[in-house]
Amino acid sequence: MPNINIHNTHIISDFEYYAPETLQEASKLLKELGKDAAALAGGTEVIVKMKEGSRRPKHIVNLKKIPGLSGIKETSDGIEIGALTTIREIETSPLIKEKYPILYQSAKVLGSVQIRNRATVGGNICNASPCADTAVGLLSAEGVAHISGPDGERKVPLVDFFLGPGRTVLAPGEILTSITVPKMAPNSKSTFNRVARASMDLATISLGAVATMKNGVVDDVKLAWGTVAPTPMRTKDVEEFLKGKKLTDEVINETAELASKSIKPREKGRSNGPYKRRVAKGFIVETLSKLRES
């Protein structure tokens, strides 16, 4: 065995390696190996966690040999994005940029080019980080997770997919295969706001918004947030409040106030609750002002 990792202290632990070639085989393996196993897609999360020692999987199940899990397809009612599609593929897809701009906006801010060339949308979703950028974009676009498991296939709207930090509805042996996104209204406007300490840092707080106006009032709006709760979240109460309203200064300020109460940030920590509620208000004012001008 070669002498590896002699350069620094970031040791990547030893593991058994599996590269199943079918979904059935992968599901069976992941179910059998249970908690000791980690599924590998782009590796930009799991490999870092292994180096930092926060995860020590005994088994790595590489999903990248399974055919059909990658790529962006236009369907009759929207698009289907394979779970192994890289963030960079989403960012550079002309189809996404033109017809699903919120997905473009939320992909291009994730990490660096090098990370986006490896990181996958399925990995970003399944890691279930509260700050997952693509989750925010996909939530505001009403994405649906397609899951394959030992007991067959099922679909779960992304809004119901996350259970907590690092926790999802995926049962042992279940694999996210793709995410579908319904067609977006051609007259809809998308905005993505994000604050982070430095450009390639994880988001401190983010807001993805997709809205349509009709006769000067808000016809439909979806607001999805990152890093304001244990999971990426929608604020449906705020959306309902906005529907049918004309975007006057008063309405915008009321909405900002409501949003700041609707989010559920951690009160303590470096970016604490009071800070995030304040930024959230600013995001709402900016988003709705842009929408009003459009």
Binding site: M1, P2, N3, I4, N5, I6, H7, N8, H10, I12, S13, D14, F15, E16, Y17, A19, L40, G43, T44, I47, V48, K51, E52, I60, N62, K64, R88, G111, S112, V113, Q114, I115, N117, R118, S199, M200
Partner: protein, 153 residues
């Protein structure tokens, strides 16, 4: 595990442990030490190489994932002793001080100019934001990228 990887244009067989990283393989098995081990966790970009033409971080790619793919490192850039225009521009513009980050920057620059032959300063800065330099600073690096773009037209 038996792998075959085309490194800098030449196919080569390897036999590695599954937890070998592409960076270990490049530096230890191939003695291609131009690619640097910086942070090891995807923050600094010093280990940037190309896999099938895309800039990736060799410290976060398992060697097994490079099986059957083409990997290009900084060593593959020059033509003998004739430097690649990007390498020459980094020297000419004083974009190199200690030089540790330079191979990563140059590999990212190459990927950028292949995608966008005439990038704006903003595009350059956005594309290179995964590469950190702690001594020269970024002004001369941006100039070097612009000079290289000009020459490669």
């Amino acid at each position: 595990m038996k792998l075959n990887i085309k490194i800098n244009g030449k196919p080569k067989d390897f036999d590695v442990a599954p937890n070998t990283l592409l960076l270990n393989l490049v530096r230890d098995d191939m003695d291609l030490t131009g690619t640097k081990y910086g942070c090891g966790i995807g923050e600094c970009g010093a280990c940037t190489v190309h896999m099938d033409g895309l800039a990736v971080l060799a410290c976060m790619v398992l060697a097994v994932d490079a099986d059957g793919h083409e990997v290009d490192t900084i060593e593959g850039l020059s033509d003998g002793t004739e430097l690649h225009p990007i390498q020459q521009s980094y020297l000419d513009e004083g974009a190199v001080q200690c030089g540790f980050c330079t191979p990563g920057f140059i590999m990212s620059t190459k990927a950028l100019l292949e995608e966008t032959p005439s990038p704006s300063e903003r595009e350059i800065r956005e594309y290179l934001n995964g590469n950190l330099c702690r001594c020269t600073g970024y002004v001369n690096i941006v100039k070097a990228v612009q000079a290289a773009a000009e020459q490669m037209k």
